[in-house]
């Protein structure tokens, strides 16, 4: 409370000197859920961004942070309405402005960087044309091209001439995001609003993009409002952080204060959950010479692309998983880690190499023989929203492998036992997936994978689709299960923070090849390869 009062007095004193670039006060936004039924998404939020300030808005999914930004930009979907509050840019109140008037504000005054660079550019127009669209409003026609090129260069695309003539599909994710930044900068805005600008990008790219945004702020003196779910990202670069939960700001303050002495319970939880801030492990590492349960040698996979091109997805990759340990596979997108996991699980056929599970060769098995291997080796998918059949109840989902293998005994008891193992109540038995949260779904998926008492679980980005606090719970669960059941995990992830929390061994991959492999302690403290070092430097939230 005292914080809000302090903030309020600050605003009044600030107005004397200079108007804030963006001042939102008491904004409330509802979503329509039925006829005459409205559900509040943002409940009276106040926020301001001063010139040259880097402000981060942090919150988990469903906290209303994106809705807040859409409301500030006048880009709310048709099902939403502003119930109260005001929005002002440099003291000009734009509350209630229609779309035509707001269009003059967007681009000229406030630049917007959207979330997913892969879907935010028009695929049939060249980059140059799309940047010119944004330049057009406030430059003479003769300058269009030069202004667009300048904007692309400011956004960090050094080869602006070439990018100008390229189509979005010819660019990498990071370059597309830079093109979007160029579009946001093209109208020479005073403030940039970025909604999760790097969540769809690899960590090393994320680091470069965010560093560049910070540089732009210093160079152009603009204000930046960054919306993110990643507290680590916010801590690294902001001047001030606002933490949002269920449509309200629960804490606000300068970074140093907030990370040192968080006042809100929720902020403490978020800080505890952020994997990048931990240096220790959830459980002590398993040392030395435990026997291996899974050994992969020289796995190779090549995909035929259109034309006569080939893509080497996997190039002679090795992997040894020791009994009762966790072996993490890390790398950026396209590194071949999912292909490797798919081959281990028998979803993808390898072109060459060998995989031994418990002394049995898996490569080249026919479908029926492969089915037997599945008793020992189970797979957990990245996205719990797509890996559960929407028509199956939780009880039926967990019992499915028991039916498939005609396991004898009381299946209902076994299902209850499994549900308890993943810390879910029996009341969940008859729920359908849509009645579960993301974390609960992933627990169900884990319970299902454990049904046959496998020795090995292959987890493909199993916590990446979840919010950090939920992610922490699932990781805790995995560690507990490992201790109790002696499981061995192959843990595929792009998040090195997570690796440090739970893995014993780590394999770093790049472009289909294994770069480095070894115990986590060694690889993290004295990386033997430049790329590993670069990855480690990119972990957000490590200071």
């Amino acid at each position: 409370m005292t914080d809000t009062v302090a903030a309020a007095t600050e605003v009044t004193s600030a107005t004397d000197a200079q108007e804030p670039l963006l001042a939102i006060s008491g904004l409330a936004i509802d979503y329509r859920t039925g006829r005459r039924r409205w559900n509040p998404a943002v409940r009276g939020v106040s926020l301001r961004v001063e010139p040259g300030e880097f402000v981060s808005l942090v919150g988990e999914s469903g906290s209303g942070k994106t809705t807040l930004v859409q409301g500030a930009l006048g880009l709310l979907p048709a099902a939403a309405r502003i119930r109260g509050g005001s929005i002002a840019y440099s003291g000009v109140d734009v509350t209630g402005w229609n779309d035509k008037r707001m269009a003059l504000v967007r681009g000229n005054y406030v630049g917007f960087i959207p979330q997913d660079p892969n879907t935010s550019l028009n695929p049939v127009k060249r980059i140059g044309v799309q940047v010119i669209e944004a330049v057009r409003l406030n430059r003479p026609k003769a300058d269009y091209r030069e202004a667009a090129l300048e904007s692309l260069r400011t956004a960090g695309l050094h080869d602006a001439e070439r990018v100008f003539h390229q189509y979005p599909h010819e660019l990498s994710g990071g370059m597309k995001q830079r093109a979007l930044i160029a579009i946001a900068l093209a109208g020479r805005p005073k403030i940039i609003v970025a909604d999760e600008p790097t969540s769809a990008l690899d960590v090393t790219v994320q680091k470069r993009i965010l560093d560049h945004l910070v540089g732009l702020r210093a160079e152009l003196g603009i204000g930046i409002l960054l919306v993110t779910h990643d507290l680590g990202v916010a801590l690294d670069r902001s001047d001030r952080i606002l933490v949002m939960q269920r449509g309200e700001i629960v804490e606000e303050g300068p970074v140093a204060r907030l990370s040192a002495v968080p006042t809100a319970e929720y902020t403490k939880r978020l800080l505890d959950a952020a994997p990048g801030r931990h240096t220790g492990r959830l459980a002590p590492p398993t040392a030395g010479d435990t026997p291996s349960v899974l050994t992969a040698r020289a796995l190779t996979k090549t995909y035929q692309l259109r034309g006569r091109q080939e893509l080497r997805a996997l190039d002679a990759a090795d992997l040894v998983l020791r009994r009762g340990t966790t072996h993490a596979i890390v790398g950026e997108s396209g590194a071949g880690k999912s292909t490797l996991a798919g081959i281990l699980a028998g979803f993808t056929t390898a072109d060459g190499g060998s995989v031994q599970v418990g002394g049995r060769e898996v490569i080249g098995l026919r479908r029926k023989e492969l089915r037997e291997v599945r008793r020992d080796l189970q797979f957990v998918f990245q996205n719990p929203y797509t890996s559960l059949d929407p028509r199956f109840t939780v009880a039926r989902l967990i019992a499915e492998p028991l039916h498939a293998f005609r396991v004898a005994g009381d299946r209902k008891d076994r299902v209850r036992e499994l549900l308890a193992a993943v810390s879910l109540d029996e009341e969940f038995l008859h729920r359908l997936p849509f009645q579960l949260s993301g974390g609960q779904r992933q627990r169900v998926a884990i319970a299902r994978a454990l049904a046959l008492n496998p020795e090995i679980l292959v987890l493909d980005e199993a916590v990446s689709a979840l919010d950090v606090s939920v992610q922490a719970q699932i990781l805790r669960l995995l560690v507990d299960l490992q201790a109790r059941l002696g499981l061995s995990y192959v843990f595929v992830t792009h998040d090195l923070g997570v690796v440090r929390l739970i893995a014993d061994d780590v394999t770093v991959m790049k472009d289909g090849a294994v770069i480095e492999t070894g115990p986590v302690e060694r690889v993290f403290h004295s990386p033997g390869h430049d790329y590993t070092r670069q990855l480690l430097d990119s972990i957000p939230g490590v200071r």
């Binding site: 498939a404 810390s423 009645q435 719970q473």
Partner: protein, 283 residues
């Protein structure tokens, strides 16, 4: 773990509540239910006989007694429409069931097996789709002989292709879902995956199509009846009713128009229902 979760209200209650805001949909269901009532127990809806009329009262205009008026032989046209529902709807139902059953099976086989089997089946389906369905139905009836059952068979055959196409596209979409891959990963066999995961999830869109096809099939059956391919004359059948009144349409327009309107209303009602089912399927 105790995550508070806002459970939706019980489904049935919520859906009933939503219906209040969709009067046209409610009306459509009422119309379809009444017409099904006509087909099942026509005696409850009219006191007149569809076959015997009062020749003295031929071509009586619509009145409180004869809602649709009477025809050339003084038969009550409302009674003939009510009894005609039986003939027309039975043929329609048979046609749609046949098309649905065969179409779903063919589409499932094509979508699930892929490769050569898929190509062969789908090119055959393309051929069927290229022939206008009414023409195809007329050819089939001409070969099999004129009767209501054969009309049903003909209309059914001519709509198999549409069902097969939709089913195949749905199957192809479902097969790529993670939960299908997950089921294989859990050791479920191919047939198990097909029966437990692919078919139930693919079927919802096909059911919406079935509702749409009911309307189309009613029209096709009536069209064949109108052209004289269906039930023989004394029998009341909607298409035949329209055809019988056609010669007198200038003097006694109600004899064709009122049964025609009844037919149109039923078709529109089924379309409305199909739209709502399709929306449900997308959820």
């Amino acid at each position: 773990m105790t995550v508070p979760l806002a459970l939706p209200r019980p489904l049935s209650l919520r859906r009933l509540g939503d219906l209040v805001h969709q009067p046209i949909l409610v009306l459509s269901w009422l119309i379809v239910l009444v017409v099904i009532g006509w087909a099942v127990a026509p005696g409850l809806f009219t006191e007149f006989s569809p076959y015997e009329g009062d020749t003295g009262a031929s071509f009586a205009p619509p009145s409180a007694e004869h809602w649709f008026g009477t025809d050339r032989l003084g038969r009550d046209l409302f009674a003939r429409s009510v009894y005609g529902a039986h003939t027309t709807l039975t043929a329609t139902l048979l046609a749609v069931l046949l098309a649905f059953g065969v179409g779903v099976l063919v589409g499932l086989i094509a979508g699930f097996s892929g490769g050569l089997v898929d190509t062969a089946i789908m090119r055959l389906v393309d051929v069927f789709l290229a022939i206008p369905s009414l023409l195809l139905a007329m050819v089939v009836v001409s070969v099999l002989g004129y009767s209501t059952n054969n009309v049903a068979l003909a209309v059914g055959i001519s709509s198999i292709a549409a069902f097969a196409r939709v089913m195949r596209s749905q199957v192809l979409a479902v097969v790529t879902q993670d939960y299908v891959k997950a089921a294989y990963g859990l050791g479920v066999g191919r047939l198990g995956v097909m029966g437990k995961h692919v078919v139930p999830n693919a079927l919802s869109s096909v059911i919406a199509l079935a509702a749409l096809e009911v309307g189309t099939a009613v029209l096709a059956v009536a069209s064949l009846g109108f052209l004289g391919y269906g039930a023989p004359p004394p029998e009341p059948e909607w298409g035949l009713l329209v055809a019988e009144g056609r010669d007198f349409v200038a003097v006694h327009p109600w004899a064709s128009i009122l049964p025609g309107i009844a037919l149109a209303v039923v078709v529109i009602a089924t379309h409305r229902i199909s739209t709502s089912l399709r929306k449900e399927a997308r959820r």
